[in-house]
Symmetry: C2
Subunit: 351 residues, 2 copies
């Protein structure tokens, strides 16, 4: 476990806290299939989860993009479905078809295991220790979990869905039972983040990738409230924990999220207008985002212009450059280098 003073020297933590020299940059899914060195390791590992649960390999792929691009932060290589897996649910990753889980029935909500998660989480914590040890001190190591709603959408449907209809129907039909399911996910997720902080991450991010189809009341009850509870539990153990929330697709509920969730920073998807982010969100939280991953895939002048728009609007403080969603596997490596150079060029201009 890092002491607080050391943790505060990482550039992402400083940027979120308001102490800026340069704009730090990392990318969601930066350790992934667009990297040949990742594909090489992935090919000689059995399942995707086996890679997540093998500390040496998970630490290695965590660090690969830092070596290649000198990003300011590494995010521990793992998956949000580690949490349901730790709660006793079978999780498989089918190549080209996404995750497959045994769909969770209403009658199973209250028997989900919240007390035997340690053996599943242990290799992730070990990977964090290894990655933190090999990461330069000024680089942040980021831990993460899925937010309860998003994890629940996979648990109930048994796979990714276009509009999260199975979870939304379950929540509408059995709201009280659904609250209890989310309570269990809150408890396990908070413990998981606390364990990651103990193992050495400097920042944690809570991914709520599938909140875009929730209505106003559902967004409050199943996105903001559970996230706020996770934040409170983490802060109870780590009062200075730096927590980034990423409610992708929150749209018109984004302002309520930044006011209500208690996070230090909010990840912006690429649909968030920059003027709105600057004028309505930045007074509450630090910002992270929000380049469209497809613009990174396209590259060229479109990429330079999009980076410049973001940096001109948000680059002057409490800002971490990132994508508005995960990098896509088709992204040329040269475009990532172009992006990093362009962002760093702006930072040079500021200092």
């Amino acid at each position: 476990m890092l002491d607080t003073s050391e943790s505060k020297t990482t550039s992402v933590v400083r940027a979120i806290s308001g102490s800026v020299e340069t704009t730090p940059i990392w990318l969601m899914r930066q350790a992934g299939r667009y990297l040949p060195e990742y594909r090489k390791i992935r090919e000689r590992t059995g399942s995707f989860l086996e890679l997540c649960y093998t500390p040496e390999l998970a630490a290695e792929v965590t660090l690969q993009p830092i070596r290649r691009f000198d990003f300011d932060a590494a995010i521990i290589f793992s998956d949000i479905l580690v949490v349901p897996n730790a709660m006793g649910r079978d999780v498989q990753f089918v190549e080209g078809d996404g995750p497959k889980l045994e769909p969770l029935e209403l009658g199973e909500f209250d028997s989900l295991d919240v007390n035997s998660t340690a053996s599943t989480f242990e290799p992730v914590f070990k990977a964090i220790e290894l990655a933190r040890r090999d990461l330069a001190p000024q680089k942040s190591l980021i831990g993460f979990c899925g937010a309860p709603w998003t994890v629940a959408t996979y648990m109930i449907a048994g796979h990714g869905t276009k509009d999260q209809a199975p979870a939304r129907l379950m929540a509408a039909r059995y709201p009280d039972a659904f609250d209890r399911l989310l309570d269990r996910l809150v408890a396990v997720s908070a413990d998981y983040l606390i364990g990651q902080l103990k193992a050495g991450v400097n920042v944690v991010q809570v991914f709520d990738s599938w909140v875009g189809a929730l209505d106003e009341l559902g967004f409050q009850r199943w996105c903001i409230d559970p996230t706020a509870e996770i934040v409170a539990r983490v802060r109870h153990q780590f009062p200075d924990a730096v927590i980034i929330g990423f409610p992708k697709g929150a749209g018109l509920m984004l302002e309520r999220y930044v006011v209500g969730a208690g996070v230090n920073a909010v990840g912006l998807d690429w649909t968030v207008p920059l003027s709105f982010a600057r004028d309505r969100l930045h007074q509450h939280v630090a910002l992270q985002g929000n380049l469209d991953p497809l613009i990174l895939q396209v590259g060229g002048l479109a990429l330079d212009r999009a980076v410049d728009r973001i940096m001109a609007a948000l680059g002057d403080g409490r800002f971490v450059f990132n994508l508005g969603h995960g990098i896509v596997p088709q992204t040329p490596i040269a475009h990532v280098q172009q992006l990093v150079d362009r962002v760093r060029g702006w930072s040079g201009a500021l200092t």
Copy 2:
């Protein structure tokens, strides 16, 4: 062609224009698979497009939900992909798998046929004449088209997509060519709506179902601007045309849409907070929406409560009750009746 005075007597037109006695109600996809009488006709028709292009049958299914539920408006039974079909593109509806088109290549944009659409549109216009003839005078008949962006997403991908990546990549790589594609779609769509108004519809709705993944600049250029151009062209022929825009998933861009698109009313998807609609949108346009179709599927107390929330917030003027997206095929008919009764109960309370 109806004269203006007659058109103004329909309740949806009056509600949008601000003359309210009761809140009118109709549902997107109200003529569809949840109705046994629709399924019966569908079973004895060949392809889905054959049903759209057979005036007697299209008019019949248009009127079915009015007979059963006494909705205040009928929407002509058709599909947004009639427009690319009229432009010479092959369109197939594969049962259980959605529409299939021959993907449109960059080199084909400028050779799309915009001048030979009449023979494709003629049966739709004929269906409108038949439906209008058999519809009570106080009921509105609604015509529609897909907005250029949404239609282009299908044309380029060749099918529905989760995140519209093919169209978004094409637009980012070749923005000028993409503008020309949308210009063609604007021209044909405006002609199509004008033809529908001439045939007797009282209101037209422009469906932009897939704008939720556009960034700020893309939303302006590929959603708002083309819609505004369609509106201007329609108004050039029909200065008093009542036009509803429905940019589903517009989120933080919704306010700019209602200010910029020039529509008389905006359809709200179910994620739009009611207070935002009331406080920020209603000063610009009439509102339509926004019950979550899954709440209609669930029914019961959840449905009553959701209706009451919407009516309490928006039911006092320039408002048309609708869903926030199309009715789902699994919806029990009894729930639709419950919904209509609940909305009508509120209107009774107001007068």
